[in-house]
Amino acid sequence: MYRSAVYDEPLLNELVSSKKEKIKPLGILPDSLKRNEKINIPDIDETQVVRHFHHLSQMNYGIDSGIYPLGSCTMKYNPKICGEIASWDGFAGTNPYQDVSTIQGNLQVMFELERMLCEITGMDYFSLQPAAGAQGEFLGMLLTRAYHEFNKDFERNEIILPDTSHGTNPASAAMAGYKLVEISSAKEGTVDLDVLEKTLSEKTACFMLTNPNTLGIFESEILEISKIVHDTGALLYYDGANMNAIMGKVRPGDMGFDIVHLNLHKTFATPHGGGGPGSGPVGVKMKLEKFLPVPRVCKNKKDYFFDYNAPESIGKIKGHYGNFSVLLKAYVYILMMGRDGLRESSEIAVLNSNYMKKKLLDSGRYELPYKELRKHEFVLSCEKLKQEKNVRALDVAKRLLDYGFHPPTIYFPLIVKEALMIEPTESESKEDLDRYVDALIKISDEKPEIVKNAPGNTPVKRVDDVGATKKPILTWNMI
């Protein structure tokens, strides 16, 4: 039996009413800037603040609450030690502008992390600056542009992506000013080499790919892909948000990729914190090094220093040196796991995924379009359920909540109808995988009314997401 805690928790401004009050203007300020009214934020005692957020927290599900197999999100357990170390004053209490002699520890972390990421991915250099995967992609696109411009190759204004690509890929490419060309997948669920070949041209700046792709399928023809892309003079970009599948098994650098971004907040054990902060380091091959953002961390004999001397650098993409605490957590995690631990985590992530996939397919309730062998995740279709009982992927997802489980990603990638995208990760136990599979099977047998009216065990019943857009209430003043 599972049931979430429920509190009727008022908004902070309902907890204690605050009224408009004049304040004593600050004399020295120019009149044009003197505030007249007190900021209308309620004044609440610490005791009440604590309870408010305590109650709210209990109405929130995290990876520490239970299995969270959101595909393309790698919700795995994040060792507590990483967070503890990141909170030490010796790290968290440092200022980015300090004299370099007083931040040698931070620089060592960054320097060594860069080497570690290079080894894991097979790339030559990394920039640790991007704040998230999407910003890493954007940086990748800026590097692509810098590269072609440096080579006086000004006509390359197209980015090719498969139709399975993550939404941030086209969004980032578009932000960087590129035209998008989406190609449809082959019947195996992988890149259609013929289509790719036809689409590539002297206008192609880059081909963006995820491997394993968002169906969880490894693109076995990656070397051929790499060849034809490079033959046309374009670059090959690796969306490495999901390195969890391949660490210690195969490396994007060896597959022929020129640019890679990683999501440290996925594979490298930074908790998502409800949506960030993250870190999306970008790795490149030698030929792209000179374009990387400043500063880079270098070492001379014994001391680390920041190197700003990079005339071809694109400059900056984020303030300072990235989300340092996330870099630090990744560093700690990699140190702890070591080469065998990283490999093992990928192996078991893939094992868990294929284990669940097999059990679910054997049940006959769900279908698996495309190729069978998957890596860290797999995408099922609920199309049959929809046809038979009008139960949709959304309904299944909501009903899972009643079993105390977080649902998978739904309706992505777009090429699978009624998609359930399941990524168990390596940190789930067999018992939990089995219970999840059982729940999915049970749900498929339940009466449609039950499933369509789910959830019932959560703090609220099914939420009308569309309602929020129809009549926008986005602050408490708009209520």
């Binding site: 109405m59 599900y61 209490g93 986005l474």
Partner: protein, 449 residues
């Protein structure tokens, strides 16, 4: 194996699946590129890891190992234990983006409260629930101005940080926005209004100012600037230090359309420049052009109030290449820290905090300016940062201070050659009067040598 429960029983599982060797699961990887192992050491135990990291941390000097007066936007602020205890609640700390609203009401409500407070602070109608940081928030604002106005020149003053400019220029490349810089008045440190007028025209998508600006100086001609903006039909973007808003007018009151800023100082650590929190608020008419995520109120099936992500159709996971931004992961936990911090502080507390920062800033500046060899650079009224010109070589001064475990001001001439031997000092509520005295007496000593 650590953190991998099924490690111990993988053979059983493989057997159950009819698989002999785990390598079969990787048979789709071309032999040519498969690797046997990574070239890195074996893993460390938690105890050894902690020990190793203690050694590394000891190579740093943090704010607690001395005293620092670095300006430039990142300064030590007091973080109440309550905030740390709230953001470490695992239900928040280990949650993903709240895609499934029924299982995320707690975080969603907190973000709704965050948005409400930011709107209140900035005088805007609405706020998103965070961008990567204050620097990219400016870049996103510039893009948004172009989306709204379909014009392609964005005007900024010279008195903002070089990093911000560099980022803005990178973001501007995509849509081909031209970024124009307006010089500042070398006496006051404020934007030169005459110059500004010259730089704006019918192609201007938006005009940006900062209050206080990078030199800590307040731009007080806000009504004139607002007038100039309205005259050109462009958008008025204002950057703020949120702590200053306890005593200064909200940009909304002087006509801003978009307000951006760095919110780290609300309950987040300096984190070597990480843990940044991009504040982004605007008027409600621009809602559909906003970047980032927004939380709204709706109903559940029982007609009960419920929270969820709103206007997702602007976002990359739905609109892909035509989204208003590529934001997926944002800075959720930093926003949670901010809303807990502001709840703890309250309106009265923020006002007081603002005053203290103001007063400390005045006091420090006055104390330094009284010294031989140091003079205030700008006449404009400043907040908790300000620029001082030294008669000696500023780098030497800093090195000497460092020997006394004092980190002096930020040296400006690398990026502002016109400010040779100038330093940007900063101070906050965390600095005691004794710290000021310590700096002042150290400056006295070092300036002579």
């Amino acid at each position: 194996m650590k953190f991998i429960p099924n490690s111990a029983i993988k053979d059983t599982m493989l057997k159950e699946m009819g698989i002999n060797d785990i390598e079969e699961l990787f048979s789709d990887i071309p032999k040519k590129i498969g690797i046997k192992k990574l070239d890195m050491p074996k893993g460390l135990s938690q105890q050894d890891t902690e020990q190793r990291l203690r050694g590394i941390a000891n190579k740093n000097k943090s704010f607690y190992d001395g005293v620092s007066f670095l300006g430039g936007g990142i300064k030590p602020h007091y973080i109440p234990s309550v905030v740390k205890s709230i953001i470490s609640r695992a239900e928040f700390y280990t949650a993903y983006t709240p895609y499934q609203s029924e299982a995320s009401q707690g975080f969603l409500q907190a973000m709704f409260e965050y948005q409400s407070m930011i709107a209140e602070l900035t005088g805007m109608d609405i706020s998103n629930c965070s961008l990567y940081g204050g620097f990219t928030a400016l870049a996103e604002a510039a893009l948004m101005c172009t989306r709204i106005s379909r014009k392609k020149t964005f005007v900024i003053p010279q008195n903002i940080s070089w990093e911000k400019k560099s980022i803005l220029n990178n973001y501007a490349k995509g849509p081909g926005i031209e970024v124009k810089e307006v010089s500042y008045d070398v006496k006051t440190g404020k934007i030169d209004l005459e110059e500004l007028k010259k730089h704006v025209d019918e192609n201007t998508s938006g005009i940006y100012i900062e209050n206080p600006n990078f030199f800590g100086v307040f731009e007080d001609k806000v009504d004139e600037i607002s007038g100039i903006v309205k005259d050109t039909g462009s958008l008025f973007v204002v950057g703020i230090d949120p702590i200053s808003l306890g005593v200064t007018k909200s940009p909304g009151e002087y006509g801003a359309d978009i307000v951006i800023g760095e919110g780290r100082s609300f309950g987040n650590p300096m984190d070597f420049g990480g843990s940044s929190l991009g504040i982004f608020a605007c008027k409600k008419e621009y809602l559909r052009q906003m970047p980032g995520r927004i939380i709204g109120i709706t109903k559940d099936a029982d007609d009960k109030r419920a929270f969820c992500m709103a206007f997702q159709t602007r976002e990359q996971h739905i609109r892909r290449g035509r989204a208003t931004s590529n934001i997926c992961t944002n800075e959720g936990l930093c926003a949670l820290a901010a809303v807990s911090y502001l709840s703890w502080l309250g309106g009265n507390g923020l006002e007081e905090l603002s005053r203290i920062n103001f007063e400390k800033g005045q006091k420090l500046a006055e104390s330094i300016e009284l010294l031989d060899g140091f003079e205030g650079m700008f006449s404009g009224v400043h907040f908790n940062e300000f620029v001082i010109k030294c008669s000696n070589d500023v780098n030497k001064v800093n090195k000497k201070l460092l020997k006394k475990d004092i980190q002096g001001g930020l040296v400006l001439d690398t990026w502002h050659p016109e400010l040779k031997n100038c330093m940007l000092f900063g101070i906050t509520e965390r600095h005691a009067d004794a710290d000021i005295e310590r700096l002042v007496s150290a400056l006295k000593e070092v300036s002579h040598v």
